[in-house]
Symmetry: C2
Subunit: 142 residues, 2 copies
Amino acid sequence: MASDIPTPEEVADLLHTTTRRIRHAFHHDLEPMGITPGQWRALRTVAWFGDPVRMSDLADRLGIARRSATSVVEELVAQGLLARGDDPGDRRSVVVEPTPDGRRVLEEVRERRRRTTAQALTGLSNDELAMLADLLRRIGGC
Amino acid sequence: MASDIPTPEEVADLLHTTTRRIRHAFHHDLEPMGITPGQWRALRTVAWFGDPVRMSDLADRLGIARRSATSVVEELVAQGLLARGDDPGDRRSVVVEPTPDGRRVLEEVRERRRRTTAQALTGLSNDELAMLADLLRRIGGC
DNA sequence: CGAATATCAGTGACACTGAAATTA
DNA sequence: CTAATTTCAGTGGCACTGATATTC
């Protein structure tokens, strides 16, 4: 028998505070590099696509409104981490991809993160991490 | 063996998106009552204390800066859901407690939430909820 | 014309830091 | 005087909706 059965309220609260703590630590960690967690997430997601990606696809993947994607991309372009281009196939579309600088930043963050997010999740074994991920996926899950 | 072992990055991302989705649903649900999730959390926490509570204690319990507690309390006072008073023992302190209206709102939210947050966590059994709560506590843990 | 794409403008919700006032 | 408590002022992060221009 695990501990008592928590109310959904408690679980929601735990999710909230835990997430906040992690983001806070991560924010602090990214500070010297001049980007925010939200910017990092966007940059990383663009890189994840592998090819130049359209704004809508990026927004969908990030789970945010298209208008919001415009803003975060604009910030990253201003810092020279993302480059915009035309979509050859559809002149309404704009595509973005990481610049060499952008890729360098991703690399450095990955390095740095080994000592932070990893540290925040240090209390958990690999099996527990897998279990946690599984539970979370099933909550949001389709 | 559960699924593959996720990177801490993935887990952090899952935490982020899952929490965001829940908050979004909850926000939508609270809308007709005129309060936000953050306000609800503060109101609920004040009520949780049982007695009039000092600002600092509230801030600590919520895990936010004292200045931030001032703001959210002020919003709730403006709506007549919290009442402020003097701390008899320390004239520097201010204490707050829910008004009858505040308690009524908490009751109604509790009702409503049975059909929302609960719904968001519907995919999980009681045992899984307990497991999730346990894992989250150990992350934030000590 | 109707639908999709991206953007502009304004706003909301939530938290922070640093400085000031009051009282212990 | 030093320390604790709260508040004021300004700001940052991140996301939203509604309206608009362009192109399919």
